[in-house]
């Protein structure tokens, strides 16, 4: 739960002038109490790290879970598209196969073990992800295919932009900030930080990885892993 709304002068005026119902008042009150988190992620070399997953979990009050979503992860040209999705706990994901060849999707990650038998098109119902954690996806036919689902119970999440920055409007309070990247070599727990935004209207945190990232997958390589 976010902090209870307290009537302010702004909402009072609004209510008096426009006579809007309580909904708008609540929104305005929340805006008045909202703050901005600015999280910057850098690689070990100090350069901006794009695409890092950032989650902000409130440490105060009752757990506030984000609403589940219905997401889609396609398979195009023997690759997952997008190759990474962040979804709230309880969400469902459809895995269509837009290729002309069949795929056979599996995960043996603790957060969700499943497999989709050999298919093309969209023959299967959505898969339900009810446990937080990183789910690594592979194809049993095409070993070069790798995809990631980050299933989170944090209400605020996203990925860093080209400048290595992720920002989010949040309710005031204390947060546990966690970051993850498919190629990082640190333990995720080592990169958790606590960040409070109480008085000021924003709080900033810069996280720098200690270890260099694993190199990215090769873009263009001969296609057979069998030989």
């Amino acid at each position: 739960m976010r902090p209870p709304a307290r009537p302010s002068r702004v909402t009072g005026v609004l209510r008096a002038v426009v006579g809007l119902p309580a909904l708008l008042g609540l929104l305005a009150a929340q805006l008045a109490h909202a703050a901005t988190l600015v999280i910057t992620v850098q690689g070990a070399d100090g350069k901006a790290l794009q695409g890092a997953v950032v989650t902000a979990q409130p440490l105060d009050g009752a757990p506030h879970r984000p609403a589940p979503v219905k997401a889609v992860m396609d398979q195009v040209n023997r690759a997952f598209l997008p190759d990474l999705l962040i979804i709230p706990v309880g969400s469902t994901v459809v895995f269509p196969n837009s290729d002309s060849v069949s795929h056979q999707i599996y995960s043996f990650s603790p957060a969700k073990r499943f497999q989709l038998p050999l298919y093309r098109g969209t023959p299967y119902p959505p898969v339900h992800f009810d446990q937080a954690g990183v789910v690594t996806l592979g194809c049993n036919i095409h070993d070069e295919m790798v995809g990631y689902l980050v299933v989170t119970d944090a209400p605020y999440f996203g990925r860093t932009d080209a400048k290595g920055v992720w920002t989010s409007e949040v309710a005031r309070g204390r947060y546990r900030i966690a970051i993850w990247h498919p190629r990082m070599r640190e333990n995720q727990a080592d990169l958790e930080r606590e960040l409070a935004v109480v008085e000021a209207d924003h709080a900033e945190l810069t996280l720098r990885l200690v270890k260099t990232l694993q190199p990215p997958p090769l873009a263009d390589r001969p296609h057979s892993w069998d030989y």
Binding site: S100, V101, S102, Q104, Y106, F108, S109, Q115, P117, L118, V134, T136, G138, N140, I141, E144, V146, R185, Q214, P215, P216, P217, L218, D220, R221, P222, H223, S224, Y227
Partner: protein
């Protein structure tokens, strides 16, 4: 009639299967060849390259049809048929044909089982479909030998620990194979020594011509004594960048076994192959590979053996759709104490190639190959100078189409 059976079988399978096959591919590879070499084994000689001086001009490199079809959720079949345009008794033959069992990974481990005829997991350069090299036309001396007379006709199980799917940087693998019908393996090394070619002997195929004084048109894929050959290998991968492999192979043939009707001899052949391949983000690929072994025959009271070894180092650089590569090969066949020099050979080779793949259908390759070798057999059996320095230049144009064709 015998030779048309696989063709008909394949044609039937292809007609029924192509419409909904998981993957099929038809390709034609034509060559313009300039060579100063003596005849190779396909022409009854002992040259170190595929095409001799009389074959300079336009040649068929390879015509190939391959099909991969899922039979059920976890089973699939792969057939690879080729024609090479030379004097094999099988004009179109299967170079590989196998069933594959591919259960789902479980708890981080994955099993793959193959049954049929296929290459043991040794080569680090021949990674393209059809067991071709993306870096050059001619295979290394090691892989040329495998192409000529080594094939697993049996069962292979590969167990992988998929660390890269569990947040680690590496995968580990273990392979075990059990096979028969490869007791001819070794005969080519002892007779011709090493050569650099891209011709793969089809199943049931013969090596050398009937009037060849050394090879006598022998069959490498043959079983004489009922013994099972074995191999075991280990593999480690770091991401998709580095592969390290080691494999110990022993066909466990009875070297005294002899088929009196055909004069076929069982060659007891064992070897160890190790290698590593590194691929960098800058398009650079580096491969080193070494093979060392021994082949023995002991028919009718004789006991003859030939220790052999070969190594190569390859460096390739890819710029978009262009690849330049250079490879250096060394090879040596020694002669056992009883052989009196028979079969001894030492040599080395340099290969330089430029490969241009404008799209998924076309591939153009220009390759220069120079082999220098000193062979006892060249003098003893063919009355030629033992020392040969041969150069073969090939321009290849390959067109491929089918649902499996891709960049």
């Amino acid at each position: 009639m015998r030779s048309s059976a696989p063709v008909l079988l394949l044609a039937g399978l292809s007609l029924s299967g192509i419409a909904h096959a998981d993957g099929w591919e038809l390709s034609l590879d034509g060559r313009a060849v300039s060579s100063n070499a003596d005849p190779s084994y396909t022409q009854g000689g002992v040259s170190g390259v595929r095409f001799d001086q009389d074959q300079s001009g336009l040649r068929l490199g390879r015509a190939r049809f391959a099909l991969t079809e899922s039979l059920s959720e976890l089973w699939s079949v792969h057939l690879d048929a080729s024609a090479w345009g030379d004097h094999d008794r099988i004009p179109v033959g299967l170079t590989e044909a196998y069933l594959q069992f591919r259960p789902y990974p479980f708890a981080g481990y994955r099993l793959r089982v193959k049954a049929g005829a296929f290459y043991p997991p040794i080569s680090l350069e021949n990674r393209d479909s059809g067991w071709e090299s993306p870096y050059s036309l001619s295979y290394s001396a090691i892989d040329s030998w495998l192409a000529i007379e080594v094939r697993t006709v049996g069962v292979e199980a590969q167990l992988d620990w998929l660390g890269t799917r569990q947040g680690h940087g590496f995968d580990l693998g273990m392979t075990v194979g059990a096979f028969g019908w490869n007791e001819g393996a070794g005969g080519f090394i002892a007779g011709d020594g090493f050569t650099l070619t891209d011709r793969q002997t089809p199943l049931g195929g013969r090596v050398g011509l009937p009037d060849d004084p050394v090879l006598m048109n022998f069959e490498p894929f043959r079983q004489l004594d009922g013994r099972t050959g074995l191999y075991g290998g280990l593999e480690a991968r770091w991401l998709d960048r580095l592969v390290v492999r080691a494999l110990r192979y022993d066909n466990r043939a009875d070297p005294t076994a002899l088929d009196y009707a055909s004069f076929a001899i069982a060659w007891e052949t064992s070897f160890t192959a190790v290698g590593a391949r590194y691929e960098g983000a800058n398009g650079v690929t580096a491969i080193v590979q070494a093979l060392q072994g021994d082949t023995t025959i002991a028919p009718g009271g004789f006991w003859l053996d030939w220790p052999f070894k070969a190594q190569y180092a390859l460096i390739a650089k890819t710029f978009g759709r262009h690849t330049l590569s250079a490879r250096y090969d060394r090879f040596e066949v020694d002669t056992g104490v009883n052989n009196g020099g028979d079969g001894a050979e030492i040599g080395h080779a340099l290969t330089a190639a430029y490969v241009f793949t404008p799209d998924e259908h076309w591939r153009f390759t220009l390759e220069w190959l120079h082999v220098t070798s000193n062979s006892y057999e060249r003098q003893d059996a063919f009355n030629l100078s033992p020392l040969a320095s041969e150069t073969q230049v090939q321009l290849a144009v390959r067109y491929a189409f089918g649902s499996a064709v891709r960049r």
